[in-house]
């Protein structure tokens, strides 16, 4: 696995698109303390940036 493939896999895993982490990645799905912090960080980012009203581009109305 190249570095680029490993990074893509790691990003996908952190974003919920992969069930298993890449080799050597320490965080597992069972590590609830980590995911609680991660979800809180994502929720904070959503809170900070929300409020801009724009529709999704691909919804054709």
């Amino acid at each position: 696995m190249t570095i680029l493939d490993w990074l893509k896999h790691a990003f996908d895993y952190m974003g919920g698109a992969q069930d298993d982490p890449p080799p050597g990645f320490g965080i597992r799905v069972e590590h609830w303390w980590f995911w609680a912090i991660w979800w809180a960080a994502l929720a904070l980012a959503i809170y900070v940036f929300s409020g801009q009203s724009s529709k999704f581009i691909y919804i054709d109305f």
Binding site: G15, G16, A17, A43, S54, I57, Y58, I59, D60
Partner: protein, 394 residues
């Protein structure tokens, strides 16, 4: 404004997903069908088309009724395909097509003043056509009427995909995953990631992309023009992949895995690979229901190039009722043809790994070409040509 609204999560996604998992296998299609029907009616009525929009639920019920008569090699399947395409043309292209004849809307006797689009029509059209064609070819089983309604009204993917296939969906519907802890952990993570992409990347870039209009283009420095266009390239990726993340994550809460739509398309080193990883469920639909029926790659070179151009023309016009979308689709078609011609002149050695500089050059060329083509996606043809004139000549 569906996936980024509280209504979606509190009134539809969370209750329906819990109910679906709690229900017996026989009742799950009913939960999906009824929740999808309520979802369609609620968001159509409150946001898109009012009562007339909500009444379009009848399209799903009618399609479900007609689909019961789809049998292998039956003419009814072609009737189903035709009526689906007629629905799409009537709602989406009526004003565009009649506008080609009567340029002035005031003098167009067929102009539809209060035009609206039924929620998700561009996407459910694909699923209706897929089912009719695959039933004709006996590539999928019939299923029950409720299972079919659950398939077409499955609300996480109803509005803008990913475009599902019945033969993939049905086994998942009948045997919903029992590993709800991992499904909810991954699903919620996916939804939150999608919302961050939408709010923190796509919406923030609107500050740049909103300048892509004639007035601002006429005043901007040339490097700034490039910045705006490349910002649009990132915005549309962040926006649509965010949408797909939320749809896929939502489906996961039900215990159903739907097809992926994106796999790092901007890292690809040629235009063919780009399309294999951008809006993947659309690409595979276009290949299966347009490109291959036209003859695909098993024809003389000229016919294959024509097939590619026709397929990308359909892709372009499907993206929007405008000449600019046709130009955008055909531009991609031309790029795909040029890439195919190039590979016929210089065939790839499957055992040789290209040097790094070659890969970087190919990536840069692909990235720039895709981003330049976005100009025809986000601006009308006249404005896009003006954009390039300002960019190249000054």
């Amino acid at each position: 404004m569906i996936f980024n609204s509280w209504d979606y999560y509190l009134f539809f996604l969370i209750p329906s997903a819990i109910l679906c998992r709690a229900a017996s296998p026989e009742r799950r299609p009913w939960v999906m069908f009824l929740s999808g029907g309520l979802f369609f009616t609620y968001f159509s009525y409150t946001q898109f088309g009012g009562i007339a929009g909500a009444a379009c639920l009848a399209i799903f019920l009618w399609e479900s009724f007609v689909s019961r008569f789809y049998k292998p090699a039956s003419w009814v399947c072609w009737f189903g395909v035709t009526q689906t395409v007629v629905f799409l043309v009537l709602f989406k292209y009526r004003n565009f097509l009649t506008g080609l004849v009567w340029h002035d809307a005031a003098h167009n006797p067929l102009y539809w003043r209060n035009a609206f689009l039924p929620l998700g029509i561009s996407f459910f059209t694909f699923e209706f056509v897929h089912y009719a064609v695959d039933r004709y070819k006996n590539k999928t089983e019939e299923g029950t009427a409720t299972e079919y309604l659950a398939f077409i009204l499955f609300f996480p993917t109803m509005v803008a995909g990913p475009i599902k296939r019945y033969q993939d969906f049905l086994p998942k519907l009948r045997g919903i995953s029992r590993a709800w802890v991992i499904d909810w952990q991954r699903g919620v993570t996916r939804i939150l990631t999608g919302l961050v992409k939408k709010f923190a990347i796509a919406d923030v870039l609107t500050a740049y992309t909103s300048h892509l209009n004639s007035a601002d283009i006429s005043r901007a420095y040339r490097p700034i023009l490039l910045l705006w266009l490349f910002a649009y390239g990132i915005k549309i990726y962040a926006d649509f992949s965010a949408y797909s993340d939320i749809a896929i994550g939502s489906a996961r809460l039900f215990g159903i895995r739907v097809p992926e739509n994106f796999d790092w398309p901007y890292l690809r080193t040629n235009i063919t690979e780009f399309w294999r990883h951008w809006h993947m469920s659309l690409t595979s639909w276009l290949i299966d229901y347009i490109y291959i029926p036209l003859g695909g790659s098993r024809r003389a070179a000229g016919q294959v190039y024509a097939n590619i151009l026709v397929t990308m023309f359909v892709s372009g016009i499907w993206h929007g009722a405008g000449v600019n979308f046709i130009v955008w689709g055909l531009l991609h078609g031309v790029m795909l043809v040029v890439r195919r011609m190039w590979r016929q002149i210089r065939p790839l050695d499957p055992d040789a790994r290209p040097p790094l500089w070659s890969q970087l050059g190919s990536w840069l060329l692909t990235y720039v070409a895709v981003n330049f083509a976005w100009a025809f996606f986000c601006m009308d043809v006249h404005t896009a040509l003006y954009f390039f004139r300002r960019l190249l000549i000054g």
